[in-house]
């Protein structure tokens, strides 16, 4: 059993506030992913849990016990670092056995457990090598093994895959998932990659500027973002977000941005007019009159076939184009005029301060 609680946690570096009054409970066996842009406080939070940073205020509880005063080694944690941090002067087996040695596990048991873990992470063939002779992916597996072998209740992973290339990253992501399923331990994972967060997490904690802005399952975060920031951060291609103004038009409300004027669904009738943002995910934009929701006639600026899907780009006169995703089988030509329709329940509105308007 292991439950991690962060109570009113705050961290300042001089005048800079890295983490602002954070409250969070992480249940046993959960796969938690902290995600956010650089400098949002996610790594600082992880390092406070690990004990490498002292919080300025607030406390950290593991299993109901305040651990602020405990050294990192006494917190029943394992950690995988971004740089792997393998000991370059010890061979792979000695690297993995290091933690066991610190716990004064008998020699023969050390050897047995190292072998066991090496099989689990599939690096048995590397045991006699030096870390310098291993590739990036292999080093990452070794780092994982070194952490796993001491059987801590909680695993902290600080952007463990960010130094690897895309293919390896996918492969090791699946590996992480598999290990979590097999071990049923708590994983706390930090990343700035939304895709990693989406695929791995039981629960995503989205952070920005030292605060939790939203938490929930990947689908909750994706389908129901609470702010412009979250909506923009998740999804690839990103949500179409067009700056403009909400204007009264008769009983209803209309969105105007010069080039892109759309009547809004009736559920937004009560919204106050003013500046704001209109958002819709590319995959929710329907090409051709669907019979429901607002429609717009536009010329296709660019066609980008990706195989399974095809991306269509439209001019918006703003810094980013409007994108729509269609089936790869659909044949749309550049400069063709198409009708875009926006289903009512796919439309997101955001106020000028970034908050979601429901």
């Amino acid at each position: 059993m292991s439950r991690i609680e962060l109570v009113n946690l705050r961290k300042e570096y001089g005048n800079v506030v890295a983490v602002k009054e954070m409250d969070l409970t992480i249940e046993d066996g959960e796969f938690i992913v902290f995600v956010g842009p650089s400098g949002c406080g996610k790594t600082t939070t992880l390092r406070m849990i690990a004990g490498f940073e002292d919080p300025t205020n607030g406390e950290i509880l593991i299993d109901g016990e305040v651990v602020n005063e405990k050294e990192p080694g006494d917190r029943d944690l394992g950690m995988v670092f971004q740089s792997h941090a393998l000991f370059p002067h010890k061979n792979v087996a000695d690297n993995i056995a290091f933690g066991l040695r610190m716990q004064k596990v008998p020699q023969d048991e050390q050897a047995r457990r190292v072998k066991e873990i090496a099989e689990l992470v599939r690096i048995t063939h590397l045991l006699g090598k030096m870390p310098g002779q291993c590739s990036g992916g292999e080093s990452q597996r070794i780092a994982l093994a070194r952490t796993l072998v001491t059987e801590p209740s909680n695993f902290l992973l600080d952007e463990p895959l960010s130094s690897l290339d895309a293919k390896l990253r996918r492969e090791l992501r699946a590996e992480c998932d598999r290990l979590h399923d097999e071990l049923q331990k708590t994983f706390i994972y930090v990343t700035h990659d939304q895709e990693e967060a989406m695929t791995l997490a039981d629960r995503i904690i989205v952070m920005n500027q030292g605060k939790i802005v939203q938490q929930g399952t990947p689908l909750e975060i994706y389908g129901d973002p609470v702010s412009y920031f979250v909506a923009d951060f998740f999804g690839n291609p990103a949500m179409n977000l067009i700056e403009g103004e909400f204007v009264k038009s008769g009983d209803g409300l209309e969105f105007k941005s010069g080039h892109f004027d759309v009547p809004l669904p009736a559920k937004f009738n009560a919204v106050a007019p003013g500046k704001g943002t209109f958002g819709i995910r590319p995959e929710n934009v329907v090409i051709g009159a669907s019979g429901q929701g607002a429609t717009l006639e536009r010329e296709v600026e660019l066609v980008e076939p990706l195989g399974k899907d095809t991306l269509l780009y439209f001019e918006t006169e703003q810094s980013r184009p409007f994108v729509s995703v269609v089936e790869g089988t659909e044949d749309v030509k550049r400069h063709a005029n198409v009708t875009l329709s926006f289903p009512d329940d796919a439309i997101f509105l955001f106020a000028a301060d970034g908050d979601r308007i429901r």
Binding site: A50, G51, F52, E71, P72, G73, D74, R75, L77, G78, M79, F81, Q82, S83, A85, L86, F87, P88, H89, F98, G99, M102, Q103, R146, T150
Partner: protein, 299 residues
């Protein structure tokens, strides 16, 4: 007159070997001359044209200097004459030199490295203080030798090993701190944290993770400082002239001694002084570069 790429490369390569070999001669010649002279019999020391490689090579110079052997020879007037064995005690000087430089260097590197670790990890000295420390090394020692010798005479430290060791420690500590810091800085903090979270104590982490990674660097620092203390001349000359003589001072006694100029003897002694350092230098040459750049080089 355009050259092809491979022609250009060839001519650059030829130019490089030419220049490097020229400098090689300049570097090697004095050392060659020292070694060659040390084997020359006395008649060849001042011969014209100079003798480059003696055909009558002799070990006599070494024996006289290092083994206290007296040599008989004929002087210009044809009389048999003894080279009076001067009151030199090279082995004692060698012992003093070795003792003083090893003790001072050990202390300097020991405290320097620990201090450097503190600076690197806990910023126990600000950057400003670090530079002030370096400054200590940069002020010429001559400006303080006279009052130090007066003060030492009051303390009874004149002509003592302790007195020299203390000063060598002070003057080399800045280099020790700066050099070892540049090695410690290269050990990623994450490496230490990885050990820490696996349950290693502070001492354990330093012993098992940091030390093995900086060992070669510390050895380089140690030997570089050994070079400095081994060859130090000014302080040794002024603070310990009679009882505790070091090798460089011992060598300088041959200059302008009553025996006249004795090139062969000087050369034999010089070889003895230089040899240990050259051996040491060859061992550490790979590490010297990193330690010298004082963090002004990033890799």
């Amino acid at each position: 007159m355009a050259m092809t790429k491979s022609q250009r490369r060839m001519s650059f390569s030829a130019f490089r070997y030419l220049v490097l070999t020229f400098w090689l001669c300049i570097v090697a010649f004095p050392i060659f001359w020292m070694v060659s002279t040390s084997f020359k019999p006395d008649k060849e020391w001042f011969a014209w044209p100079p003798v480059y490689i003696s055909e009558n090579a002799t070990m006599m110079n070494y024996l006289v200097v290092w083994a206290d052997v007296s040599e008989y020879a004929t002087n210009e007037d044809g009389d048999l004459e003894t080279y009076t064995q001067s009151l030199q005690r090279p082995w004692e000087a060698l012992g003093n030199s070795a003792l003083i430089s090893v003790i001072a260097t050990t202390l300097s590197v020991l405290f320097g490295a620990v201090l450097a670790y503190g600076v690197s990890r806990y910023q126990i000295l600000s950057e400003g203080r670090m530079f002030q420390l370096l400054m200590l090394r940069m002020v010429p020692p001559i400006v303080l030798v006279a009052p130090i010798s007066i003060w030492y005479s009051a303390l009874g430290l004149l002509d003592s090993i302790t007195g020299l060791v203390m000063l060598y420690f002070l003057t080399t500590l800045p280099y020790a701190v700066w050099m070892s810091k540049s090695f410690i800085d290269e050990v990623p903090r994450e490496m230490e944290q990885a050990a820490e979270i696996l349950g290693a104590s502070r001492a354990r982490t330093i012993w098992e993770v940091v030390l093995p990674l900086v060992r070669s660097g510390l050895v380089a620092t140690f030997l570089f400082i050994l070079i400095l203390t081994w060859s130090e001349y000014l302080l040794a000359l002024l603070l310990s002239k009679t009882a505790v003589v070091t090798l460089p001072v011992e060598l300088s006694k041959y200059q302008g001694s009553t025996e006249g100029r004795v090139y062969g003897r000087q050369a034999a002694l010089s070889v003895g002084i230089t040899l240990p350092l050259i051996v040491v230098g060859m061992i550490i040459r790979k590490h010297l570069a990193r330690g010298f750049s004082f963090g002004m080089v990033r890799r």
